[in-house]
Amino acid sequence: MAQSAAPPAVAPDAPLTLPVRAILPWAAFFGILMLILLYFVGAEGGTAAVFSGEGVHEWVHDGRHLLGFPCH
């Protein structure tokens, strides 16, 4: 209802936030780790194979199709 037109100034009951500098180290390290995981599902084998051959591609093949990644 009538949202008591909150002024932009920091309200006394500011909501809980997590400081960015506490998040960044985790985001940098785990963000990259997660992207590597995704790479194996979504790209390894076809485009740029880190491991030789099609083993990884064949293993995750059905998931690659059903998760929406390009395949054959």
Binding site: A14, E58, G63, G68
Partner: protein
């Protein structure tokens, strides 16, 4: 409210990803494998040459599918948990559960729905092998663009909120998101390699299954992670005294 909290939320996010991955795997096995098998039947009837079978179909449908799905859900749940840490208290006055729901909605739209509109999921035997590199690059580019436009829209909404109010700022940011995404969809090259005679119902069933998996993933992530995050943050949100402002009400009178 520090590094340890972020770590706890990240771990819980990834555990949520494993739990939702099991759900999504069950759904994919029951709903997605059927059109996938039909596509392989079409392929077998039309293929000219066949490579050696490195992994048996039974393994691909079970352990292989589970591996792919669990990698995907765990990775995106971890990323979404980190996005939650950034979003909490910064996208509006929402508690952990609503924030988790909004992050999940953003993930579904930017990571899946927008790329899917341009480059929808395809069953086997639909795409030309020699365009795989190009299609893979375009798909990842579409995800990256969509996520970046989504983040830009959220920042835009934050900037506009003081001037326009929360409701109008949200609408303005949403319109900006739709317009920018629409331009990206319009200008990225189209891919259409559907072979002659490929059964249309198989493509439809396959895409419905693919969309269902993503809906299940992001919806269950939002619900489960929201619950877990609230249990991490609740003691702080309810007891954290904000500055030294005297509470409007006196301490509860002893009986």
């Amino acid at each position: 409210m520090n590094s340890a909290t972020v770590r706890t939320l990240l771990v819980r996010g990834m555990l949520t990803g494993i739990a939702t991955g099991l759900l999504v795997f069950g759904f994919a096995y029951l709903v997605g494998e059927s059109p996938l098998r039909s596509a392989l039947v079409f392929e077998a009837a039309h293929a000219t040459e066949h490579g050696p079978e490195l992994v048996s179909r039974t393994l691909q449908e079970t352990a292989g599918l589970a591996t792919g799905v669990l990698f995907f859900t765990t990775a995106f749940a971890g990323i979404a948990a980190l996005a939650f840490c950034f979003a909490l208290g910064r996208i509006g006055r929402f508690g952990p559960r609503v924030t988790a729901g909004l992050v999940a909605l953003g993930g579904f739209v930017t990571v899946f729905l927008v790329p899917f509109l341009k480059y929808p999921a395809n069953p086997p035997a639909v795409s030309a092998p020699d365009t795989l590199n190009q299609r893979t690059a375009l798909y990842w580019l579409m995800i990256a663009l969509s996520v970046l436009i989504g983040i830009a829209a959220v920042v835009l909404g934050q900037r506009l909120a003081p001037r326009l109010g929360n409701w109008n700022a949200t609408i303005a940011a949403s319109v900006a998101f739709v317009v920018a995404v629409g331009l990206a969809l319009a200008f990225l090259p189209a891919v259409n390699e559907m072979p002659e005679g490929f059964p249309a119902n198989v493509v439809w069933d396959f895409r419905v299954a693919a969309a269902g998996m993503q809906l299940l993933l992001w919806a269950s992530f939002g619900v489960i992670f929201g619950h877990l995050a609230e249990r991490v943050l609740e003691p702080r949100t309810t007891t954290a005294p904000t500055q030294q402002a005297a509470p409007p009400q006196a301490a509860p009178a002893p009986h």
